[in-house]
């Protein structure tokens, strides 16, 4: 009661403009937050559905038959696997976790995790729509592929997956007793897994979207965009923007197009390579699946390599 009275007294002393300011901020926050959320939900649903289907229809024996256990072959294979799965960075996290659970080697899974959001057919088409079938598309795919394979190889050094992955509590407890037999039962089991995972991953999507929307509500982008000279700074700015905006990889090419006039080829390329691998919502979703150290590798190595690629291209194609 006292608190309410105090609040009323304090608020009555504030000028009206403070309230309109707060109300305006709240509206911007709500629109940006719901924008990211509404856009991401269908993709998250697709990813969790794919994960449910993998869980039910793919068994561990098949997995070990398909995927090589030699690190380089596994990493390259994992990265190219990204070309078939139409998942972006929201959907790829639950799917990758499921693949690990099915016995996929670390190097292959990590390469898949980083490559799939860029190499998948939807992203290729949207990048081509924005930039044409040219250099930007080619280098985006090539640089992403290299980064994914390198990070995959780094992880192949770790022999015990338990040091990288957080323990999974929710998996497979439900149907151990009555394994689904008919096709209809299997589909239903896959849907139940998808529903569980939608809530589990949705939680981190919501936190990430709220953070990104909060930043966009209170931090002026012009602060970032005003520094765009030299070979290094603009790349850093674009990398920062990729994290800040947290745009889905399926459409980020259209956003990048808007920067082509002000930013160099290399800077925009680094945005297109790094954004799908690391942004606010994916960092938070990674932290649900991987241990802290693994998450920091997943963020830092792609960051440094994208930075390097951007700077290199700034020298070759200023």
């Amino acid at each position: 009661m006292a608190v309410v009275v105090l609040l009323l007294v304090v608020s009555s002393m504030l000028p009206v403009s403070v309230f309109t300011w707060l109300w305006d901020r709240l509206n911007v926050f709500a629109t940006v937050f719901l924008g990211i959320f509404v856009e991401a939900v269908p993709y998250l649903l697709l990813g969790t559905l794919a994960s449910g289907l993998v869980e039910i229809f793919l068994d561990r024996d098949q997995m070990s038959k398909w995927v090589s256990h030699r690190p380089v072959a596994a990493a390259v294979g994992g990265a190219f696997m990204g070309m078939i799965f139409p998942v972006c960075e929201c959907g790829v996290v639950p799917l990758t976790r499921r693949l690990f659970h099915k016995g996929m080697p670390l190097s292959a899974g990590i390469a898949f995790l980083l490559a799939a959001p860029v190499l998948n057919p939807i992203v290729v088409l949207s990048t081509a729509a924005a930039f044409g079938w040219g250099q930007m598309l080619f280098w985006r795919m090539a640089v992403s592929l290299v980064i994914a394979v390198v990070v995959g190889l780094v992880f192949s050094v770790e022999k015990d997956a338990a040091n990288v992955l957080r323990p999974v509590m929710t998996m497979e407890h439900e149907h151990q007793h009555d394994l689904p037999k008919t096709f209809a039962e299997k589909i239903r089991a896959a849907l139940l897994i998808a529903a569980d995972e939608f809530f589990e991953m949705g939680r981190y999507l919501i936190i990430g979207a709220a953070l990104a929307a909060g930043l966009q509500t209170f931090v002026a982008q012009s602060v970032l965009l005003s520094i765009s000279s030299g070979p290094v700074l603009p790349v850093l700015v674009m990398l920062g923007l990729a994290v800040l905006l947290s745009i889905c990889s399926t459409v980020d090419a259209f956003v990048a197009l808007g920067f082509i006039g002000t930013f160099s080829f290399g800077s925009v390329l680094s945005f297109l390579v790094f954004g799908p691998m690391v942004d606010i919502k994916s960092i938070i979703m990674y932290s649900q699946v991987f241990r802290k150290r693994a998450v920091s590798y997943l963020v830092i190595i792609p960051f440094l390599m994208s930075l390097l690629a951007g700077i290199l291209f700034n020298f070759v194609r200023p």
Binding site: I36, L45, G132, F198, G202, A213, A220, V251, G261
Partner: protein, 248 residues
């Protein structure tokens, strides 16, 4: 949380989300959040959410039937954190409690706005010049003035442009900005563009109100670049358009 209760809450939340999306779709407010091109994706999401909710409901019915039949059912506590469920309430609450409003000038302070560019598009230039003068929007005019080194051919052309009003203290008394947000994907990537309108009514217009401005085009130089200006002959108040954002 008991297993069946957990499933019921899940199902209800999925259903609520499904209805929320469907409601935004039918009210047309979905375009306040995402570009209209992605509406099919949301429809797909609505269908999938409904299927998932239905699966969970029927799963509960099945488990209850089995229990009634005296089968040995493993009713156990559900392991996943119940907190996962409550997070899903956040977007629903934000969507229901805060009235839907497309991005407007209150986002300028962080997102900024632009009067000249940088706007180049690989494929749409040809189409841009074919568009009839009256059908060009704010983005088209800015693109043309950005693209052409000599804009004299466009001076005096009749324009008919919609947008929201932004009155800036830096402008002259008879000027205001006619602005639109350009959104590729969702509101998160939106950026604002604006062209100057000159009119004796400038002072009477309300900030962020939507208007249709008609009049001939003239040119002004801002930061060493050509920018279009409309000499308003008429300014008509209009409701928020079906698609408040433009596509780049």
């Amino acid at each position: 949380m008991p297993h069946r209760l957990y499933r019921s809450v899940q199902a209800l939340l999925l259903l609520a989300l499904c209805i929320f999306f469907a409601g935004k779709l039918s009210s047309g407010q979905l375009t306040y959040y995402i570009n209209a091109r992605f509406i099919p994706l949301t429809i797909f999401g609505v269908v999938l959410l409904a299927i998932l909710a239905q699966t969970l409901f029927s799963e509960n019915r099945r488990s209850r039937r089995q229990e009634d039949a005296g089968d040995d059912v493993h009713v156990h506590e559900h392991k996943p954190a119940a907190a996962n469920l409550w997070f899903m309430v956040v977007p629903l609450a934000i969507g229901l409690l805060i009235p839907a409003r497309p991005l407007d000038s209150s986002a300028f302070s962080t997102k900024g706005f632009n009067t000249t560019g940088p706007l180049v598009s690989s494929d749409s230039t040809a189409q841009l010049f074919e568009t009839a003068s009256e059908d060009r929007n704010v983005l088209d005019w800015i693109k043309i003035f950005n693209y052409e080194t000599d804009v004299s051919a466009y001076i005096g052309r009749q324009a008919s442009v919609t947008g929201f009003v932004y009155r800036d203290d830096k402008l002259a008394e008879n000027q205001f900005y006619l602005s639109r947000f350009v959104v590729s994907c969702c509101a998160a990537d939106g950026f604002a563009i604006a062209m100057i309108v000159e009119s004796s009514q400038a002072q009477t217009l309300e900030q962020d109100s939507w208007v249709l401005v008609k009049g001939p085009i003239s040119s002004i130089v801002i930061n060493e670049r050509n920018a279009p200006v409309i000499q308003a002959e008429s300014i008509q108040a209009i409701p928020v358009p079906e698609q408040p954002y433009l596509f780049p």
